[in-house]
Symmetry: C2
Subunit: 346 residues, 2 copies
DNA sequence: AGAAAAAATGTAATCCTTTACATGCAAACC
DNA sequence: GGTTTGCATGTAAAGGATTACATTTTTTCT
């Protein structure tokens, strides 16, 4: 329990009013609606404001105007650097509108046994951008409740069949691009490294891969599917599992760059050469992808843009504009580097 | 300019009071000081609160108690994943105390032409954890002003000679560890990849390297110092520069893992083998370090712990406890992997 | 010049809680 | 039994801004 108390406001609007010889209403107007006071008065007020370095108390202001001018971003796990770029994009989208950004992760929310909805209900944030598609049903019910409807958008990940507005990358198309690239190089024998069970991205990327393979007359037997998280270490582990199989794939589709890098690391340990023996493609195009050894062929998704668009969507939803479309799908592209090559003969 | 306005609070303390048949004072006490109301009354109030899912309006509350229950973290650049782990640590430190976390980066602060001090003065946050050691002098002056004194702590980076409380890793010792390791492997010819000019970490790590080399009777001529940022691409570039020199170093000290990974990537492009021809050591031990090729020998700093301790320091400073020490230096350790080996003969 | 319209400013209510102080009432004491 | 003490609760005053409405001053128009 906190016990401190700060004299946060040394000086208030009343003091400014007194010093400038006007009423508090005029001070308020001079600051928020400069056009509605005479130039002389404004100058006079501003001089006093500057001199004393006065700032409006945002609590009093928010209380009165019933607006927080802040948005909450909920990340599954703050420690995961994957999200930082999206957060930066959200910040980009919020800054021009003058909104602040609050950040929490699902883990610490649970630790405090509170739902992100609390923040909305407690009026601390005007809206929520949720990067966690795996929220418990109870929380999703809360989010769907009328009093927060129109104040939530999901980005990157999303929960199924709930009808929330979503901004995401085209995960299916991404995997299709990867498959087409590899098929073009003569690969016929594929494996897939998936993300965590139950995750939407895992599912979409798997389905995208399967659809594109089917199109090429190929299929993905269960024995060729490994993974279980987006983390490096599971890519490393999965590489081992895959190579222990009697027949080996020549191409490995990874659901994240981290998986791909771990996978390549694991393959190297086993003496398997990338791309001569096995081609590997990642997903995301994180900064390191271009500099790992070998440089990683991957699917680029513009995470920063994704964050920015999510923020913009939320903003327009907050200002009452109906959303043109509830599902926004951003294009992805393939970046061919050197972790993929023609399938080995035989 | 925002124009929306939300009926953020559907239901207020007055409604709860009416429905429970008590006064607002009693409702408030039932929620914040449960011991000060009779068990029956409390149960009755709680029932109504639960039923209507009431949350106190945090603005009204903060206005009254003059406390935000939130802390602002200022990052140089939100897009840089290096900071995510520190942020997670800060969250860890804040959560038990029930404080929220606001995040901004220096870039968007500048874009909005406002200083982080604004947030403190506007009472939006009780304290500031600053991860940016390169703030302009004007802002540092503001931070040093009496009304925010005791509400700021620097973490990871810090400004020089200002006397702010700082939590940091032992950068000098880290570099010394790296040098000793390499000297032990027979290396005599060193190069250093530095971070951005003017950065404290750049300076501390350079000085640490130079001191440790001096101790071993070695030195670092200016021609052996390259870099200029912590980014991968500069590591890549610097590798090229270094290898174009008439005589080549056998060991490269990098001021970040990103530099090291870029450097190894650049060396590989040039056909220089790591660690057979050149040993490379990084700094930070980011997640990828263990899985890059070759796995990176590096200096581990516990970023999460650093964030947590910074948060705890701030918290105790906010509650008026005088800080035992203004400078907290966390230990680092060397993690030997496979990017370092005995110096090549001759 | 006088009336009407527009602009500038002021007064005071309002946003929602918390909490100092007052009140009432029951238990504890001598 | 009559004070004293202590608990449970209520009343009402902050807390610092915004803004509807009222008022005054200035401009514009005929």
């Amino acid at each position: 329990m906190q016990t401190y108390r700060r004299d946060i406001m040394a000086i208030g609007i009343k003091d400014i009013a007194r010093l400038a010889g006007v009423s508090t209403a005029t001070v308020s107007r001079a600051l928020s609606h400069p056009g509605r006071v005479s130039p002389e008065t404004r100058a006079q007020v501003m001089a006093v404001v500057e001199e004393h370095d006065y700032r409006v108390n945002s609590f009093a202001r928010s209380l009165r105007v019933r607006r927080a001018d802040a948005v909450l971003a909920l990340v599954p796990n703050l420690g995961n650097p994957f999200f930082s770029e999206i957060i930066a994009g959200i910040q980009d989208g919020l800054t021009p509108a003058g909104l602040d950004l609050l950040v929490t992760d699902s883990l610490s929310q649970q630790a405090r046994r509170q739902s992100p909805v609390t923040h909305l209900q407690a009026a601390r944030a005007d809206g929520l951008i949720c990067l966690d598609g795996a929220l418990p049903a109870g929380i999703l019910d809360d989010l769907a409740a009328s009093d927060v409807a129109g104040r939530v958008v999901f980005a990157c990940e999303w929960p199924d069949g709930r009808g929330f507005p979503v901004v995401r990358s085209d995960n299916r198309a991404g995997m299709a691009l990867a498959v087409q690239h590899l098929v073009g190089l003569g690969h016929r024998d594929f494996a897939l490294l998936t993300g965590p069970e139950g995750n939407v991205l895992t599912r979409e990327r798997r389905e995208g891969a399967e659809a594109a393979l089917a199109q090429a007359g190929l299929s993905l037997p269960p024995s060729r599917i490994a993974g279980g998280s987006f983390e490096i270490r599971d890519g490393f582990r999965a590489a081992g599992d895959l190579m222990r199989m009697p027949s080996r794939p020549t191409a490995i589709l990874c659901s994240s760059d981290q998986l791909a890098i771990g996978c390549i690391s694991g393959l190297s340990e086993l003496g398997v050469r990338v791309p001569q023996d096995v081609s590997v493609v990642g997903f995301d195009d994180i900064a390191l992808a271009a500099y790992s050894r070998p440089p990683l062929t991957t699917i680029r998704q513009d995470r920063r843009r994704l964050g920015r668009i999510a923020a913009e969507r939320l903003l327009s939803s907050l200002s009452g504009k109906p959303l043109a479309e509830t599902l926004t799908t951003l294009p992805v592209e393939i970046v061919v580097r050197r972790s993929t090559a023609a399938a080995p003969a035989g």
